[in-house]
C-alpha cells in the first residue's frame, strides 16, 4: 500500500504538515498564555492604521477589477488544464498523424481570439 507510486505518501505528508502547523500555532498560544505576562492596554488590541484610530470596518466592497481578473483567470485556467494531457501524449501521437497538432492549434486559435477580445476591450488593463 504505501509505495512511492501511490498517493498514500501524500496523505501521510498532509497529516504531518497539518500536525506541524497546528503544533507550531498551539505552542505559540501556550507560550503566550503561560510563559509571558502580557502587558495590558487598549491600544495594543487595535489594528494598525498608521498611528491614528481606525474608524469603520476594513471589510468593504472593493474594486470590481479584482473580480474581472479572477473570472478571466478561471476561464484560461480551464483551458490550460486541457493542455497538460495534450502535452503528455503529443510526442507519441504526432508520430502517427499531425492531427493532434492541428487540433490544439484550432483550440489555441479560438482561445487566442478570446484573449485578443479581452485585451481589445481593456479587460487586461488595470486602469
Amino acid at each position: 500500500m504505501p509505495a512511492a507510486d501511490t498517493y498514500f505518501p501524500i496523505l501521510l505528508l498532509f497529516v504531518i504538515a497539518v500536525v506541524l502547523a497546528g503544533v507550531i500555532l498551539l505552542i505559540a498560544r501556550l507560550i503566550t498564555r503561560f510563559a509571558i505576562k502580557p502587558r495590558e492596554g487598549e491600544a495594543k488590541y487595535t489594528v494598525y492604521e498608521s498611528g491614528v484610530n481606525p474608524l469603520g470596518d476594513a471589510r468593504l466592497r472593493f474594486s470590481i477589477k479584482f473580480y474581472l481578473v479572477a473570472m478571466i483567470f478561471i476561464i484560461f485556467d480551464i483551458e490550460v488544464v486541457f493542455f497538460y494531457p495534450w502535452a503528455v501524449v503529443f510526442r507519441d501521437m504526432v508520430k502517427e498523424s499531425p492531427l493532434i497538432l492541428w487540433e490544439m492549434l484550432v483550440f489555441v486559435a479560438i482561445l487566442a481570439l478570446g484573449y485578443a477580445y479581452v485585451w481589445r476591450k481593456g479587460g487586461l488593463d488595470w486602469d
Binding site: 498608521s50 498611528g51 481606525p54 469603520g56 476594513a58 468593504l60 466592497r61 472593493f62 477589477k65
Partner: protein, 598 residues
Amino acid sequence: MSANGKPQTIEKLVDAFGGAVLHTGEALGEWSAVVALDSIHAALQFLASDSELAYEHLSDLTAVDLSQLNRAEPGLDGARYAVVYHLYSPQNETRLRVKTPVTDENPTAPTVSDIWAAAGWAEREVYDMFGIAFENHPDLRRILMPDNFTSHPLRKDYPTKGLGERAAFNFETSASNLVGKSDSTDRGEDAIESETMVLNIGPQHPATHGTLHLEVELDGERIVRATPHLGYLHTGFEKLAEAMHWNQWIVVTDRMNYLSPLSNNFGYVLAVEKLIGVEIPKRAQYIRVALAELARIADYMVWLGTHALDIGAFTAFLYAFQQREKAYEIFEACAGARLTISYTRVGGLFYDAPESFEPMMRAFVKEFTDEALPEIEKLLSRNRIWIDRTQGVGVISAEEAVSYGLTGPCLRGSGVRRDLRKTEPYSSYEEFEFDVPVGASGDTYDRYLVRLEELRQSCRIITQALDNMPDGPVNVEDHKLRFADKSHVYKTPDHTHPYDPTQPYGSIEGLIHHFKVNMDGHGVPVPAGEAYCATESPNGELGFYIVSDGSGTPYRVRVRPPSFYNYQSLPRLLEGHMMSDVVTALGSLNVIAGELDR
C-alpha cells in the same frame, strides 16, 4: 528703474491703484508697498497677471502682529496685523514685498489662492497662527494646531514663555479631529458597486519618513482623493525665535531640515547679516559655500536612498547612506557635531575649518564622483523597473509648478531654470562656475535626474571653493558681533584641549566679551527694520523674513519652508494615480517634516 529711482513695478502699481497704495519704500535693497485691504486682491491680481511685471511666483505669504512693535510702520497705522506677501517675478528677476493692514476686530483678508495655488496652505497657516480669516478660501481650516485649539499662537498676546493654552488643552478630544473623514460610505445593500476605502498613510508609516499624515481615498488601487494633514511635528520654531537671542536661534534652525542643517544655519545668519548690513570675510563665505554644497549632497543622499527604498531598491539606500556618513565625518571635523551642527554664527563661523578639511573634502568629492554616484546611477538610472515606476508619475507642468510655489529641484524638474544661487547670488556664489540642470516633463524621473546632476554640480562648486580658498579670519572683526575666542573664555590654549574645571576661565576680558555678546540687551546689535533673505537650500527656496525692533531678540521670524509649499502640490501630483505612486511622488518631493511643520 525709472528716473526718480522707483522701479517700474512701484510706478505701475501706483498708477493703477493710486490712493489705495498707502506707502512705498525701499530698505536694504528690497522694495515694499502697502496696499489698502479693500484693493489688495485686485492689486495682487494686477501684479501677477500684468505682462510686464509678471509676479508669477508667490514666494511666501505670512502675517505680522504689530501690536507690540515699538515703531510706527508707515501705511499700517491703526492696524493690528499686516499680511505680508513676498512676490517674485521670474521674468524681471525682481522681488516685491506687499503688505496690507488688517484690523483687530474681525480680522479678515481676501484670499489670493485663486491667483496663486501656493497661497492655499500659507493662508491656512496665517489663519491658524494669527486668526486672520481669508474670505472665499476653499478650505479654511487650522493646519498646524489641532482643530479644536482656540488660541492663535503667533499673536503677541500668546505668551512666549509658559504653556499658553496648552496648559489646559486636552489632546484626547482633539485626536479624532486630526483623522478627518475616515469611515467608508455605505450605499445600501442593493448597489453592487465598489466602495472607496479611506486609508491613512502616516503619521506612523514606513514611507512617510517622519510624521506626515496623508489621508487617501482609494477605489481599489486607484486614488480618488488625497488629503495631507500637517502639524504632527509642529514645534513653534517661529514663536521660539521671539524669545531667543539672535545667535541662540541658530540651534533651532538645525532642527528644521535636519538632513542638511547647515543650509538652515546659513540661510538664517545671512538674513541677520543682511539686516545688520555686514559683509563677512571671504574665507568664511567660501567655507560656508563648500559646506552648504556638502550639506546638499548629504541631503540628496538621504533623499535618494529613501526614495529608492520606497520604490523597493533597498541596496541603493545603503549605498547612499554610506556617502552621507562620509559627509557627516567632514561636518564632525568642522563643527564637532554630525547632525545638529550649528556651525555658522552671525558674522562668520563658529570655528575655522580644521587642517584636515581640505584633504577630507577632496577625498570625498573624488570618491563620490568617481565611484559612488556612477554606482548608484548604474543601479537605477537605466533600470527598466525604476524608469517604469518613476516616468509619468507625479507630473506637474511648469505653469502649475510656479503657481504652486514649487522651488528647488521640484521646480527645475518641470523645466523652469530657477536657482537662487544664479539668479540672486549670495555668499560669493557669483564667483563659482556651475550649471543649473532642468528637466523636461516634470515627472518623478526628471526630478530624480535633476537632483543627480545637481550632485555633480555641487562637487564642482566644492572643488572650486577648495582651489580658491582665501586665507584670513572666518569672523568679522567687529567685537560686538563675533564671539570671544574660546581660549579667552576658558583656560585652554585652544579648543582641542579638554575643558579644565579647576581653571574655568581664561581671562576676565574674554569672559566679559563672551557675556556681552550673549546677554539680552547687550548682544548682537541688530537695527530695527525688516529683511527677507532667500537661499537655495536642497529643497528649494529657504527664505527668512525677519522683523527686528532693535532689541536683543527678533520681533518676528518667518521661515519660508520649501517643503511646505512643495508638499502642498502632492494631491495635485497624485491625481489619477495608484496607491503605489503615493510613495513615489512623496519621495520625489523630499518633504522633511521638521521643516514642514517647524
